[in-house]
Symmetry: C2
Subunit: 105 residues, 2 copies
C-alpha cells in the first residue's frame, strides 16, 4: 500500500497571506526552523523540541502550517512525517524561504 | 516645531514573528504593496485604495503594521503620513522584503 498524504493545497494555490499568517506565531516559526533541514520529522512534540506543549496543541500548529502549504505530511501506518515543501515554495515565492530561514531568531 | 512620530519599535527590536503576524492579513498585505514605492502615504482609506473600509478599521491595520516595525508614521499637525521602514527591515532581515514584494498577489 502506498503511503498517504494529509490534505494540502496544490502548489499553485499556496497564498502568501496564508503563509504569513501561519508563520505569525512563535511555535510555528520555531517549527519552520526545525523543518529547515529539508528532512522528514516525526509529529511527536518531543521530537521537534516542543515537549512542553500538549500533543493536541502541537498538532494544531502543524495543521495550520500544512493547510497554508508550508509543509507536507506523509502518513505511514500509525506514524506521520512532516517536511517542508521547499521546492514548491521556492518556485512560488522566489527567495522568500531563504530570507526567512536566514532571519529566524 | 519638529514633526512627531507615532510609537514604533527600535530597529533592533523588530521581531520576525510579529512582522509575519502583521502581514498575515489580506488588508495589511495589500497595504504593503501600497507602501512598496517607499514614499509617504496619507492615512485616509481612499488614499490607499481602501475606501470601502471604515476609517477605524484601516487605522487598526496601520497600527498593527507600525507596532510590528514594518512602517513609520509621521505626524504633521492634523495629518499623518506612513512609509515603509525599508532600510531598517533590509538590515534586520536581508532579502526578506524584496522577496515579499516580488511575491505579492
Amino acid at each position: 500500500m502506498v503511503d498517504e498524504r494529509l490534505p494540502q493545497p496544490d502548489a499553485e494555490d499556496i497564498e502568501l497571506v496564508k503563509v504569513m499568517h501561519a508563520l505569525g506565531d512563535p511555535v510555528r516559526i520555531r517549527l519552520l526552523g526545525v523543518y529547515a533541514d529539508g528532512g522528514e520529522h516525526s509529529c511527536a512534540p518531543e521530537a521537534v523540541g516542543l515537549g512542553h506543549l500538549h500533543k493536541s496543541t502541537v498538532s494544531h500548529h502543524m495543521r495550520v502550517m500544512r493547510e497554508a502549504g508550508i509543509t507536507t505530511t506523509r502518513v505511514a501506518g500509525r506514524n506521520r512525517y512532516v517536511r517542508l515543501r521547499r521546492d514548491e515554495l521556492d518556485a512560488r515565492f522566489p527567495g522568500l524561504l531563504d530570507a526567512l530561514l536566514k532571519s529566524l531568531p
